[in-house]
């Protein structure tokens, strides 16, 4: 059993970060988010609330999307972590990254890495089959610029590419208008 007192000495951990093994010493009170944004100098993972309330810090831990702000780094010994920097590079974008560019699925760009990592997790999970499910299962990522519909478009496009068929797309004009209600009793 590992036991570390609240001294300043760090605890050794080994993580695989974006495919590269890293041997680190971390104090127990350092979160994965602060480790990435601080000593690792990987600021692509964003701090939007630091409390699991916005999703901007979403990364993939062993393939699953999680909020990096709520993970103490010391608990991740042996984990495989993928951040936005590990998904693609500006000159070699991941299909989701390219789709976000194509659909203008952002404005200020600050929630974007979290949205994209979350979308990558969503695709891995395979539980979203419809646009309504995309919306529900992306709801852990707030976007104050309000790019939600474009984000859903971007994800839907990549989902369609990978599964060979597009999910039921509730395109604006299809939902319009006059359908779905009936007049009340005269």
């Amino acid at each position: 059993m590992l036991h570390a007192d609240s001294e300043r000495s760090g605890i050794p951990i080994v993580i695989t970060l974006n495919g590269k093994q890293e041997r680190l010493e971390v104090a127990p009170w350092v979160t994965l988010l602060d480790l990435l944004r601080g000593p690792m100098e990987l600021p692509g993972t964003k701090k939007g609330c630091d409390h699991g309330q916005c999703g901007a810090c979403t990364v993939l831990i062993d393939g699953q999307r999680m909020n990096a702000c709520l993970k103490l780094a010391v608990t991740l010994d042996g984990a495989e972590i993928t951040t936005i920097e590990g998904l693609g590079q500006p000159d070699k974008l991941h299909p989701l990254q390219q789709a976000f560019v194509d659909h203008d699925a952002y404005q200020c760009g600050y929630c974007t890495p979290g949205q994209i990592c979350s979308a990558a997790g969503l695709l891995n999970e395979g539980h979203a089959q419809s646009r309504a499910e995309i919306r529900e299962l992306m709801s852990g990522n707030l976007c104050r610029c309000g790019a939600y519909t474009n984000i859903a478009d971007a994800i839907e496009q990549v989902m369609g590419q990978s599964s060979g068929e597009r999910p039921d797309r509730n395109a604006p004009n299809k939902a319009f208008p006059g359908k779905g209600f009936k007049e009340a009793a005269e």
Binding site: M1, L2, N67, L70, L72, S118, G121, G140
Partner: protein, 338 residues
């Protein structure tokens, strides 16, 4: 955050021993609540015991047909487990109504049971709060309290339990398996969480040196007629103002067994087994549901800001039971209420 000693436990016995050694120590699993609270300086344990490596990650069907869920099974793994989806869809639905996919991937079954309230005053170390600091008073009484309790509150505390999962577990009469220095014991779910009384610092009946190791669900029932209906301020990623886990067993249109558990309204998932029992033999219709709802809410009391929760709860109970009776449970990604 206050600095702390870190212990990485390798087995249950080790974790229990570490807990026994320091009653103020806290177990760390998914971290989605404890790390959050530590950053706000709401909880400042001197020792944190990391239990993520403990072998409590299995979902197994026991010989008697009941389901045993390890305390470290993540909320997502539980929600999407094929057995759970098939046999306990009410639980799966409640899980998917809670938090966000990221949080559900990290949060654990045991941790969800131990989730602390979302009361603004509890979360704010500068505010009086008897739960956080016994004897300091309750800021929420007379304050901003639209999210607070309407049932079972006390003059010391009007906080609510925030979990969705626990509401379903309460309806399903789950059993909580806990382990302490003296071995394992079972706690019936309804006896696990407690009402605040004048000791709101205790959320539950777990002894300080015990840990949750598993949840057990009795063999199949309520797989056909159930619904988890959650009402909140926005359509996802928000805590319940009111939630209802409803389940019915019926024969020839008559109720043989009915369960209603309420979330967001009390210090614990709220049930009234007596009132439920009295529904036996009655028709599964709106009149019965309304009567049951009114029985459940008979003692409901608003705090000013949350008075609306009383009619909201009544209406949500009726709708959830109607959904259950019709076999049309609420689907969490569908935002129209069925």
């Amino acid at each position: 955050m206050k600095q702390f000693s870190y212990i990485r436990a390798e087995n249950v016995a080790g974790a229990v021993a570490a807990l026994a050694a320091d009653p103020q120590a806290r177990l760390l699993a998914g971290g989605t609540n404890l790390v959050d609270l530590m950053k706000y300086d709401v909880m400042s344990p001197p020792t944190v015991i990391d239990i993520n490596r403990l072998p409590l990650k299995d979902i197994e069907t026991l010989d008697d047909g009941s389901l045993r869920i390890g305390a470290l099974v993540s909320n997502a793994a539980l929600a999407y487990d094929p057995t759970v989806a098939e046999r306990f869809p009410l639980l799966a639905s409640a899980l998917l109504a809670g938090a966000s996919p990221q949080l559900r991937n990290a949060a654990t079954t045991g941790g969800n049971l131990l989730q602390r309230t979302r009361c603004y005053y509890f979360y704010d170390p500068a505010s009086p709060c008897n739960k956080r600091e016994p004897g300091s008073g309750c800021g929420a009484i007379g304050g901003v309290n639209r999210i607070h309790a309407i049932l079972g509150a006390s003059a010391s505390c009007i906080a609510t339990h925030p979990s969705d999962m626990c509401v379903a577990l309460a309806a399903l009469d789950a059993t909580v398996e806990v382990e302490g220095p003296d071995g394992r014991r079972d706690i019936p779910f309804l006896a696990f969480h407690r009402l605040p009384g004048d000791e709101p610092q205790y959320d539950n009946t777990l002894a300080p040196n015990e840990m949750v190791v598993a949840i057990r669900l009795r063999p199949d029932h309520f797989a056909a007629n159930h619904s988890y209906l959650k009402i909140r301020d926005r359509l996802s990623y928000a805590f319940a103002l009111v939630s209802v886990a409803a389940a019915i067993d019926m024969k020839d249109g008559g109720i043989t067994d009915i369960r209603v558990a309420l979330g967001g309204v009390a210090h614990k998932p709220w049930r009234d087994p007596l009132a439920e029992a009295e529904c036996a033999g009655k028709p599964a219709n709106e009149a019965t549901f309304r009567e049951l709802a009114q029985r459940l809410l008979a003692g409901a009391q608003g705090q000013g800001g949350n008075d609306f929760k009383i009619p909201m709860a009544e209406r949500t109970i009726i709708r959830a039971l109607t959904q259950a009776a019709n076999g049309t449970p609420q689907v969490q990604s569908e935002k129209a209420i069925r």
